[in-house]
């Protein structure tokens, strides 16, 4: 047994005696006038921001080393933040720093509890996801867009009956997945709602941990995260650091990299590599044979890029990125390759 398997396969669906019903439905639909505008369309991600590289001007450039930056940031490979289950357990040095301050209306949350270490941090797509662990125990806090509250609440009502709980001074609802696995939903504030999930602890311990959650602002969260996390305050240096020894197209600079909010070392590396990779794909798509060759050479060389090598043991992004050159040589459309890494 590996992945969960479906209750019914497509091949079984094809064998169902539905030919007549299927034909009826087709005719019914096509008899419907096309007048209504429905907003069911799945959202589309915006196009990459970095698009303009003149094919004629393309040349491989290497971002200059900035030695001072390396000392300003811990080596991402040593940072306790991680994303994959294969990552080593976070070290004790990752515990929140004393700089975590409470800001009642702040838009972020953090955990201030002894022995707990940050294991994951990602913000994007309107969500902020931060997770901590202590041994086998874990606490994850996700802030979702406020308009998703009702649908998530409906889903959780299928998990268990809600139990009234106060979280960060606001009436909230706790759901029980199992005796040592609970989740609490806090209604929206500042455009997002918070869901906390604690696993590996009983309800009493979970409640105690809820009391150690601190609402804070951007500066407070930045002060509480370990080195290696990219924050709005160290973004420029961090991106420059990550771009060390990375081949970038002519004209590409750290300013072309889109990293917003807070991201752990893995997420940040993926975003930086993604920006560079997209830029090279633009070169490949828009340029002549020489430009294509340069782009392929850059993707080949990416196996030596430090930022990707550092992420290998934490997740799969690097492996996907390293497959790009082969995909392009095999004739896979650039648009398809782009969706894999951008």
């Amino acid at each position: 047994m590996t992945e969960p398997t479906p209750t019914i396969h497509d091949r079984d669906v094809a064998r169902l005696p539905l030919q007549d019903a299927r034909a009826d439905l087709l005719e019914e639909i096509m008899a419907t006038p096309v007048v209504e505008q429905l907003d069911h369309r799945p959202s589309r991600r915006p196009a990459p921001a970095w698009l303009a590289v003149s094919a004629a001007a393309v040349a491989i450039a290497t971002i200059a080393l900035v030695p001072a930056v390396r000392s300003a940031l811990a080596d991402p490979a040593q940072a306790p933040v991680a994303t994959s289950p294969a990552a080593p357990a976070p070290s004790a040095s990752a515990k929140p720093e004393p700089g975590l301050t409470s800001v009642p209306d702040g838009r972020y949350v953090a955990l201030d509890a002894p022995g707990w270490s940050l294991t994951f941090l990602y913000s994007g797509e309107g969500e902020t996801d931060i997770a901590y662990s202590r041994g086998e125990q874990s606490l994850e806090m996700v802030q979702y867009p406020a308009d998703a509250y009702d649908s998530y609440l409906e889903d959780r009502l299928h998990v268990s009956d809600p139990v009234a709980t106060e979280l960060l001074g606001k009436p909230s609802s706790t759901f029980t997945y199992s005796p040592d696995d609970h989740a609490t939903m806090r209604p929206a504030q500042n455009g997002s709602f918070l869901e906390v999930r604690g696993s590996g602890m009983d309800l009493a311990a979970y409640h105690e941990l809820l009391g150690r959650i601190v609402q804070t602002d951007e500066r407070g969260l930045a002060a509480s995260v370990p080195a290696g996390v990219v924050t709005p305050f160290n973004k420029d240096e961090a991106v420059t650091h990550l771009l060390q020894d990375v081949d970038v197209p002519d004209g590409f600079t750290a300013a072309d990299v889109e990293v917003t909010g807070f991201n752990d070392a893995y997420q940040s590396a993926a975003r930086v590599a993604g920006s560079v990779g997209c830029a090279w794909l633009d070169v490949y798509a828009d340029g002549g044979p020489a430009a294509r060759q340069r782009a392929l050479a850059a993707f080949d060389a990416s196996r030596d890029w430090p930022l990707l090598k550092d992420t290998v043991r934490r997740g799969d992004y690097a492996e996907v990125f390293w497959g790009v050159a082969d995909q392009l040589r095999a004739g896979q459309p650039v648009a398809s390759v782009r969706r894999g890494i951008c």
């Binding site: 992945e3 969960p4 396969h9 019903a21 799945p42």
Partner: protein, 190 residues
């Protein structure tokens, strides 16, 4: 027949089974899948200009279907007058879930204990066979976010399945190995 009509007929023929399969795997009653399929294809018909070509069309339809499904779960589904026969025929001929279940009980139990968003990425990967970039299309999020969620939800599923494994002294019939930790395939590693 206009080009639009021809295109829709082709889309319908190519994607009907997959979309119906997607819906059947996610509803409690087979006839509800008829509503999801009817509503989704109706949206596609009305917004045919938005439907991408090729295999991307399938992802687009999944994206619409998941919203339709969410509305139905919230009791907000607009039960269309369409698809009455499909509803009836599915109620009569679709296998019930108990008979169709091929996965181990421990996996099903563990899946139901995952948060909905974690369960959804796993289902799209395992049931629909989608790659992370395709899941990202369906969910409207970045492939990076999908990989993160997949990675963590698989780890969580593994942990839950270990919790749910019967102890050695509760072993099943002879020859049935119950104590082995399952290893999940990592499609995105390929």
């Amino acid at each position: 027949m206009s080009q639009q009509q021809e295109r829709f007929r082709r889309l319908y023929a190519e994607q009907f089974d997959r979309l119906l399969g997607y819906a059947l795997r996610r509803v409690d009653r087979p006839e509800d899948a008829a509503d999801v399929v009817s509503e989704t294809f109706l949206v596609a018909w009305r917004r045919l200009g938005d439907v991408p070509d090729g295999d991307e069309a399938r992802l687009w339809l999944y994206g619409v279907a998941r919203r339709t499904l969410a509305n139905h779960r919230r009791g907000e589904g607009r039960r269309t007058a369409l698809g009455d026969r499909l509803r009836r025929d599915l109620a009569a001929c679709a296998p019930d879930h108990a008979a169709g279940v091929t996965e181990r009980e421990t996996v099903r139990a563990a899946m139901h204990r995952l948060a909905a968003r974690d369960r959804e990425v796993l289902e799209l990967a395992a049931w629909e066979g989608l790659e992370p970039r395709e899941i990202a299309e369906v969910l409207g999020i970045s492939p990076i976010a999908v990989r993160s969620r997949l990675s963590r939800s698989r780890a969580r599923l593994r942990a839950l399945m270990v919790e749910d494994e019967p102890a050695c002294n509760e072993a099943g019939p002879p020859g049935h190995v119950t104590g082995r930790q399952p290893q999940l395939a990592r499609k995105e590693d390929r």
